[in-house]
Symmetry: C4
Subunit: 436 residues, 4 copies
């Protein structure tokens, strides 16, 4: 006997929910609606059993009662989806006030994945898939040994020695490099006006003598040979690394390998060109500038230090937000073009031209762009600053825009960092298999 | 038989709650109170059934027991309201310790709405409501086609070509513009003292020669005609856009349209005035300044790039917090007036006037305001700085106030960004209909 | 028959929990323990009923089972306390992993209170308790009317007119003030060396002529009388305000009243002293400096604007964190003393004294402190900068310390702002009585 | 009779869950699986009772149904672990969408511990374990009394007097110190070129006269004796402190003790050397620089003030993140080396060497590093700035990198501060025993 006021007991996983038949008739076609239709020639059961979670069924029944689908806080999306599909409610719209509950604890699977991949890439470097002992036996076991020696120096005494030696050579080459800059600086500054403190000028110093014509740029040869020694060591290290690396393609694409490779050249070129280089000081300068790569090699040392979690997360955040960074750089470039042009015309319109009493501080629009960068970053050297009221208004707006732009970076970085830090902390506390 | 110690079973959606009659008599007039009053000539039921959510009823019963209405964490406001209304408790005050639970997951409906509207506005631009195919057939189908071509260049090959052409013309006109600034700068700086490095002054340079009287400002005519060509293309594009736009009013009000329109003028005016312009260099300067609009047109290119979610949220946050921004600007203006005046009097009182040994760096109060802006934003060019102790104290306070003011921006921006980002992430994971 | 394996049914608010007698014997002396002790000459009941929340009882029973007291997330502290007290577990220690759950939604009552008080203070100002119509009838109804007129100008047309008039007078007095600064600046700068651009110096300008001895500082008298007019209006307004104010003590203590009062004096003193003032220019300067109070009066205008929620919360946050601000200022002062002294000795030790080739940029230690402020706030005018390597190291450390100090402000401000904003948002959504 | 469709009632703590035998056979070997295996010669029970939490069992049963282990939000890790172990599911992997739920309220035990230790360390200082009255009776009770007197001055009148006296002596020694700097500055600056304002130079001032040869650096002797008096007091205080301190080792290692000790020396050395010091002005300078320690002693005063919670948390955060700080400093150092070198070569390559029209602002690479620090921190004094386009590009990149680096500090500091602040707030609301 079917009656709209008839009560029906739904035993869901042991919990007995009771409701009216009329309530279940809210959504035709669903599994619960079918309970209210008597089978051919039969009668309706007074109690039906379902082997489902009793907790979520309360929300499903609430949907029949109020026609609004809510969900418990921090419910896993997959769980809710499966439950709704079972009850035939897969296309029931979730009430907007519950949209945020769903995203809270969920959707982080890809975050966990990205983080684990980043950690693996960081830790194992270019190791590639761990090879089974059988496959490596054929090709000799010295390659993995060498690779470990060079990349995980803390694992053996030989590794520590090699790392120490590398560090010493690196320090040596840096000292030689800084020494050279001093020699080069002396040579090049004696060719144009020497640097003087401000006040020296008024006391009638003799004009800086022209460099004697025969004077050529002369490096101490022993320094060059010392540098060559260091570079040869680096070359040998790079060779050992490239031979022992299990994943050659990834290794060659790594930016650090390019830096290693490029840093071998300057001293070789200088030796190849030999004495003639000294007659082409500009070449020496370019070779010197290339030696800045030695400084970049310091980054490898930083890679050997064990970094705390917060910094690994920060690095991961920065790496994963390169698209935002790119667009913000574009925004910055637009601001520079805009404010630079405005500043130029502001100054030109503002200064009373032809009256000889004021002047502008720049000679072309590129200098204006330079000024804009320095103002936007609030560095404000003071080499260029507006002289006219109109220019000052432009500059004030530029300075404020600069402050705002720098503040804009904070929320994006922070929100991503917070998410990633929570993920990394949670991962750290579980075993790799995901067990507690 | 009614007794105060009598127990009553409340079957709420299948869950049997039991309580004493005396407990339910706490709030007269409510639905549960009425259960304890025997109907005319009848007896009280020992068990009553309600087809409501059993979960929330626990909190309702707790209200009768403890006279404090608590609620589960992250409960949806609408659900709680409906439940309380059913039990006749609509005006029961929520305990203060639960006020925050309610706002956690709720009240975001308007946030979701604002975000969806902002996304629509961004994506469909001035498209207006999507017209049904029938209505557009009458007025021709080329208008939507043209609109799509111009605004969604990635959708077709012709669109890509048109976008590429536009970009080339824009780059061309920018190159011409930067070229012009150089010519103008040369002309105007040769009328007043030419820009020189600091140290050139002491070596007895000849005084800058006065510009020859007949010298007029002369632009290369071919550049002008090239610019005209570019501008004609922009004009044609704007015309095509304005004809094909489905929502004319919104289109005309858009700031980008105004920029497009205004950027057509400078070259036309210059051509109209012709040779006479060269005798009124100030007019040329104003026309040049107007050409800064070309730079603003670059913003349209930025609009074509697909932006990542974080940046769209950031833009939405900035747009929706214009009131806060306005009041903070007012605060800034007040600070500038205040510290500028203080600085002026600080310097005047601090320097020993009449003793010829110190001086101030400014000639009027406007320069003081300029100094205040540069100090508040921590740019600090150094063109003006305090010379007296009193002025230095003022400046120190100003600099600290500037740092504090810049820090004030962070929390407002951040809190709004976080809310909006959570909303946007949640929305992104649901289908437009709100289904999972 | 009592047996340790005997099961007992605990009917808590309708939910039947079952457990062993031995479990309940974990904590002697508690209410549940007593259930396991047979009464004098009686037998133990197999089912006991308690009219309590069944939800929390699960955690209480869990405490008997595992001897660790956990609690559900976001539980209200008061609810938990009452429940524990009922079961005789008031001094049961909460497991540390649940300490944070408790503080999440709770303990905000005082936050709500502080926020509501701050809002009342802001909105009703010095209104004090709203007086009943009866009590005000005796003392006349014009006082509240006048008070409302002056403090809530949007409520009536007369109020709007008065506010507009006040604003006009304020603008007028500001214009006069800025006019005066220009006159004073001219007078005082002509007494010492006039301000010149850098390059004017080399072209043999005549030395600045000494001011003619008879020249006295002369203000335009009509400006003085105009200013007097404005100030008389302000005086009248202040008088009306002080008469109509319901809470005189609070009114007189308000800083805005002090500003209003003090801003009346300068023009009166100047008129009283009359012509003699012009022979004592320093007095005029002090009177001028006092007029900066006119700028502060602009703050009253800001008070009339309706502020958005985020800014009200920000103001409340700043007001409520004055203790943190004070200690950070102390920290700052310490840094200034420390780095200033270090810089002085760094420079003195670093420069080769007696060799005439370098010099220091400061004449006393106060100037060093000034330099430290400008470096810590990263303003960096460049009027003073280190000349020696030792001084440069000090300066580098100072600059880094400055950046760190400014970053320290962010978290304190942010965490407090976030808490207060959540509270304010939640409060805004409830009716004043706390009902939904 | 065992049937796969047979239903089984699991009475878990009173809540009756029902499920099919087939569901429980999902994970062989677990406790629930064994229920489906009939014991030797017996039959399966239709209902089984377990004295466990019914709430969590729902999730356990869900694992059998869906083969995915979810957990309720904000569950305590220990509770979940114990429950899983009971059901024989200790190595069941948690679904990734629940990983974050677990970390939310849990794992904070160590945070609480770290915070409590930090608070103890702060409050009790070097008190060590509180000694029982018996053990102290033997060694006299005056030591604890003296220690309390000196370290908790607010606890007694004598303590307040001693603290006041200390503060006065400290102020006195600071005044003397600042006085001395002025004397030293006068002496040393008269030996090289005296400091002059910029514009004094052009008016033909006489060259600064050489210091008269017999002039020696002469301090006022009475100042020296006054300083000696103050220092003797500090020495006596340090002695009293070191005698009364219960934990000598910790006391000697404290940095504040070192400062106290070192600050005794300068005046003693100066007295010991006597008149000869005046012939070795450099020694005086070094002794003067050592006196900066007096400023550091001010920190002790700060320690006596009661600090609000937010600042204590901030200090704890800074102390506990020294590893992150160290690595960020390393990053900063790398940036300085890199950008400094780039700037040097940028300037050298950019300036047209040999053409005498431009110059560089630096004489060695150390000056370049100095410039880099000042640009990275956005101080920007303007003593050194790029003159060439290439150098300007380097500088622009440096300035932007500086802004980014400063922004990087915010998220790390903030996330740690937020965690620690929540912990500290929660702890503050509980009694030391962990009771409510």
């Amino acid at each position: 006997m079917e009656g709209s006021g008839e009560r029906l007991v739904l035993n869901v996983g042991g919990v007995r929910y009771e409701t009216y038949h009329s309530t279940l008739r809210a959504f035709p076609g669903t599994r619960l609606y079918q309970l209210t239709e008597p089978p051919m020639g039969g009668t309706l059961a007074r109690e039906v059993f379902f082997d489902r979670s009793p907790h979520l069924f309360g929300y499903v029944l609430g949907y029949y009662r109020t026609r609004q689908l809510h969900c418990p806080p921090d419910i896993c999306r997959a769980v809710l989806e499966e439950e709704l599909a079972f009850w035939g409610l897969a296309d029931a719209p979730l009430a907007p006030c519950c949209w945020l509950k769903l995203s809270g604890g969920d959707g982080r699977a890809e975050d966990f994945h990205a983080w684990e991949e980043s950690e693996l890439g960081e830790e194992q470097g270019l190791l590639g898939p761990i090879e089974s002992p059988n496959s490596t036996r054929a090709q000799g076991t010295w390659k993995p040994w060498l690779w470990t020696l060079l990349n995980q120096p803390c694992s053996s005494l030989a590794g520590k020695c090699a790392a120490l030696l590398s560090m010493l050579f690196l320090l040596g080459v840096l000292v030689i490099f800084f020494q050279e800059t001093s020699v080069q600086l002396d040579y090049f500054t004696s060719n144009f006006r020497p640097l003087e403190p401000w006040d020296g000028e008024k006391e009638g110093l003799p004009p800086p003598q022209a460099p004697s014509p025969g004077l050529v740029y002369q490096r101490a040869p022993h320094l060059l040979y010392l540098e060559l020694l260091c570079v040869l060591w680096f070359g040998a290290e790079l060779l050992a690394r490239s031979i022992s690396c299990p994943n050659k393609v990834k290794f060659l694409r790594s930016p650090m390998t390019l830096v290693d490779l490029a840093s071998l050249f300057p001293v070789l070129v200088e030796l190849a060109v030999g004495r003639r280089a000294e007659r082409h000081p500009r070449l020496c300068l370019v070779l010197g500038a290339l030696r800045v790569l030695y400084v970049l090699k310091l980054g490898r040392l930083l890679g050997l230090v064990e970094k705390p979690l917060a910094l690994r997360v920060l690095a991961h955040t920065l790496r994963s937000s390169w698209r935002e960074a790119g667009l913000l750089l574009l925004l910055w470039a637009g601001e520079i073009l805009l404010f630079g042009s405005l500043f130029l015309y502001g100054e030109l319109l503002g200064t009373g031209h032809g009256q000889g009493q004021s002047e502008v501080h720049f000679a072309d629009i590129l200098t204006c762009f330079w000024w804009t960068v320095i103002t936007l970053t609030t560095v404000g050297y003071g080499d260029i600053y507006p002289m006219s009221a109109l220019g000052q208004v432009t500059a004030a707006i530029t300075a404020m825009a600069g402050m705002l732009t720098s503040v804009l970076l904070v929320p994006i970085l922070l929100v991503r960092f917070q998410r990633c830090y929570a993920v990394a902390l949670a991962r750290q506390k579980l075993r790799p298999s995901g067990t507690l």
